[in-house]
Symmetry: C2
Subunit: 138 residues, 2 copies
DNA sequence: AATTTACCTTTAAATAGTTATAAATTAAAT
DNA sequence: ATTTAATTTATAACTATTTAAAGGTAAATT
């Protein structure tokens, strides 16, 4: 799980400026269990930062990804979701309502999958598609 | 692997018209081992069907997906790739050159992954990211 | 504390993939 | 051959994301 101060220190030590926007984005992502889109973050952050822009959100999120703090999920064809964690795990995506849930995977499974390729795998995504219980009962 | 006639018969039996464009798209996808994008298909088909449009390609591909003949891959953030097969397997994506390769998975592995969720999983994608040997040596 | 500078955010516009619409075309039923 | 309903096409619209340029700001320097 994220430690805000650690992430901010790391940003600073890499020569990045600690702007209010960056702090706000890191704080807003910290401890989340959901997988917000750029738009969700934009709406939420706009309350504290009325002038914040998508460009800032996308660039900060990209920075956090490069630093290994978050993952970009392409499970949803329509838009990118951000997952503020790096530990490998799978995701279940409901094809009707778009609900997106984390699924644990043990380290063995992760390693086995990474080793399926003869090339060196840097990261891994496992996406399960189906209907969540709510959508299935209608 | 695909059988063109079987797919065309199935289309017809479901009440879909066998248009020249649909036949051309099915024929062009048949037996492929790569994972063309809409644009690739468009360019290729344009030789035989100079008036073919993206709308036709997208709608036909969607039809084939609904009928269970092909999969839509979201491994590449930039664009959708189509995989003319339904057997579950993993994909390796080179983050530099975009090369996309099939990786075999045995049925056990597939089942184990599908069962990671307590919900009923209809389909599955496993994406491995890294650098292909060529890109790694530069 | 003021100045400077390089980086950052913002605004606005551009881009690219995909989808919607409406008119024209055509497969196939009559 | 005619009819009809589905399909294709051309065009425009749409949406998520990225880019470019102008102004703003963190933090290093004086």
């Amino acid at each position: 799980m994220w430690n805000v101060d650690e992430i901010l220190d790391k940003l600073k030590s890499k020569g990045y400026k600690l702007t209010g926007q960056r702090k706000a984005i890191v704080e807003r992502l910290c401890g989340r269990e959901d997988h917000p889109t750029a738009e969700q973050l934009y709406k939420e952050l706009k309350k504290d930062y009325p002038t914040i822009s998508f460009a800032t959100i996308y660039s900060t999120v990209q920075l956090l990804e490069e630093m290994g703090y978050l993952q970009t999920l392409t499970v949803d064809e329509k838009k990118t979701h951000f997952d503020p964690t790096w530990a490998a795990h799978a995701h279940f995506f409901c094809q009707k309502c778009g609900r997106l849930e984390d699924i644990e995977m043990n380290q063995e499974e992760v390693e086995r999958l990474k080793n399926l390729s003869k090339y060196r795998t840097q990261s891994l995504q496992v996406y399960l598609y189906g209907l969540c219980p709510e959508c299935d009962n209608r």
